[in-house]
């Protein structure tokens, strides 16, 4: 079951089969088949509007709120179809965390931001929360910068710090997979560098899927890369392979900067 913490059976792997998605009439994802490898970083690249973010958001059912979206096909996580009506979507999102394009810390203290996830999961004991929050902040390379002001508002942080706080917040919920939707596109180069370093350090413990339209970023940090175009998955392979020797001509053109 999704809620079982000890299920190491194929944990962290997502299998996508014949996934189709429509925004009312427009066919945004076409027959996507993809296996997200465990314990690695998978980058989703492609020009704007190619469906990479849409794809990412199906993996933790973020389209649920939007009634215009219609989805067909299978996304299997821990051997269960995540669209199965019996699945508890909250439990799914605890397993598969998400970091967004623009840092979106809640208007609460730094501590409460990170404790938000654990509190939802019913953790109330102060010592336990303390240790989760501190560990998450440390894992997100943020603890040293905020250790003396955990009770202050998160809105006073810089953009890069906010994004690392959002990553800490995702980590504190103890996920197995983390989805990242262009997490550095709103950040300056130095903050971007820090966040990239952080992402690399996380892949030992987590499976990461990251959308980026920065190809250098994909090349720098990812193990696997999926290239999307007009809602279809054109090519999926090891990043090194794709950047050195793409099989599909369209991938070659995109990577070499001939379009997009």
């Amino acid at each position: 079951m999704l809620t079982a913490r000890n299920a190491n059976y194929d944990s962290g792997c997502i299998h996508v089969e014949n996934l189709n998605l429509w925004y009312s009439e427009s066919h945004a994802l076409k027959d996507i088949c993809l296996n997200v490898p465990r314990g690695s970083i998978t980058a989703l690249i492609g020009p704007s509007g190619c469906g990479k973010s849409t794809f990412l958001r199906t993996l933790n059912r973020m389209h649920d709120q939007n009634e215009l979206v219609r989805i067909e096909g299978d996304v299997r996580y821990q051997n269960q179809n995540i669209f199965d009506p019996h699945i508890d979507v909250s439990a799914l999102r605890k397993e598969i965390g998400m970091v967004f394009q623009t840092p979106n810390p809640f208007k609460m203290s730094i501590y409460d931001n990170v404790a938000y996830g654990p509190k939802i999961q019913g953790i109330r004991k102060r010592e336990q929360l303390d240790s989760i929050v501190i560990q998450a902040l440390k894992d997100a390379f943020l603890y040293d910068e905020v250790a003396d002001r955990l009770d202050q508002s998160a809105s006073a942080l810089s953009g890069g710090q906010k994004q690392r706080l959002c990553i800490a917040r995702a980590l504190a919920a103890n996920p197995k997979v983390i989805l990242m939707d262009e997490p550095t596109s709103a950040l300056d180069p130095v903050s971007t560098h820090k966040v990239e370093e952080l992402i690399l350090s996380l892949k030992e413990k987590y499976t990461i899927v990251i959308v980026t339209h920065n190809m250098q970023q994909a090349a720098r940090i990812s193990d696997y890369t999926a290239f999307f175009l007009n809602g279809s998955l054109v090519e999926f392979s090891r990043t090194k392979e794709m950047f050195e020797n793409a099989k599909d001509e369209r991938t070659q053109n995109y990577i070499s900067g001939r379009f997009g």
Binding site: S90, N104, K107, R169
Partner: protein, 284 residues
């Protein structure tokens, strides 16, 4: 060389600048002179006995304590109903309702309701609450009429502030596994608190200033009652008392005394609303 500005354009722009200046200062002057006139005429009437006693027909003194108390009772009771109802309706419209036509209809109805003259609310309140529901002329009927009258405004201001809560924050909470109610309670409601406060204060102002609707429903007795007792009996609020003293008894000195108190109250409420917006509106 660039052409210099022609004399005609200079004169034109000066003319319009000064015209607008006159409009602006004129408006301010009207508002300030009314306030000043009332305060100058009214403050002299204010004394401890005037504010903190009830009127005596034998001694022929006037005291507005009952009216002051009635005003407070009315505002507190009406707010206790308006705020939860209005915020609840706004949350339903913004967060739950999936039927856009239905939401538009409700919003439209609220808009129409807020444009209806208050005396019509009074008439309807009298027929429905006082007679049909058998509440008679009582503060309770006045409270319910105020609730109906202020609900649209409350819904609107709550809705406006709900709309300003960024989708990204809600998504962030959903992505951590939060359920709908949890998101509303922990993310949406705190973010819209300043808007709700502002709406509440505007309601206060409107209720304190209302007279027509209350003449019909709450009546104009001047007796001192406890909260529960007051709800069951007829009672004048300050604005109603002002009308009664001025029109029925021709006592303009007392009316100006009450007017001064009302002006001070409304000013205080406005200052409070400004302060709340400054204090909580710019958290981010």
């Amino acid at each position: 060389m660039l052409q210099t500005i022609s004399k005609k354009r200079k004169i034109q722009s000066m003319f319009f600048r000064n015209l607008m200046r006159i409009c602006g200062w004129g408006c301010a002057a009207i508002a300030f002179s009314i306030c000043a006139y009332i305060l100058v005429r009214g403050v002299g009437e204010l004394s401890f006995g005037f504010v903190f006693s009830k009127p005596s027909y034998i001694k022929e003194t006037i005291g507005i304590l009952p009216d002051l108390l009635n005003t407070i009772y009315l505002v507190v009771a009406a707010l206790a109903l308006v705020v939860p109802l209005g915020v609840g309706a706004a949350i339903y419209l913004c967060e739950y309702s999936r039927n856009a036509k239905m939401s538009a209809l409700i919003e439209h109805a609220a808009e129409i309701l807020s444009g209806i003259p208050s005396i019509i609310y009074g008439l309807v309140g009298m027929l429905f609450f006082c007679q049909f529901l058998g509440l008679k002329t009582s503060l309770a009927a006045g409270v319910l009429t105020m609730v109906i009258m202020n609900l649209p405004g409350m819904i609107r201001s709550a809705q406006e502030s709900l709309k300003t809560v960024p989708v990204s924050l809600k998504e962030g909470a959903y992505a951590l596994g939060a359920g709908k109610w949890k998101v509303i309670r922990s993310i949406v409601l705190p973010a819209c608190l300043p808007g709700v406060c502002t709406g509440m204060i505007l309601c206060c102002g409107r209720m304190v200033g209302e007279s027509a609707a209350l003449l019909f429903t709450a009546g104009f007795a001047h007796s001192i009652n406890g909260f529960v007792q007051a709800l069951q009996t007829s009672g004048a609020t300050l604005s109603v008392a002002l009308y009664v003293y001025a029109k029925e008894q021709g006592n303009f000195d007392a009316a100006f005394g009450i007017a001064a108190i009302l002006i001070i109250l409304v000013l205080a409420i406005n200052l409070l609303s400004g302060w709340i917006q400054k204090r909580f509106g710019t958290l981010d």
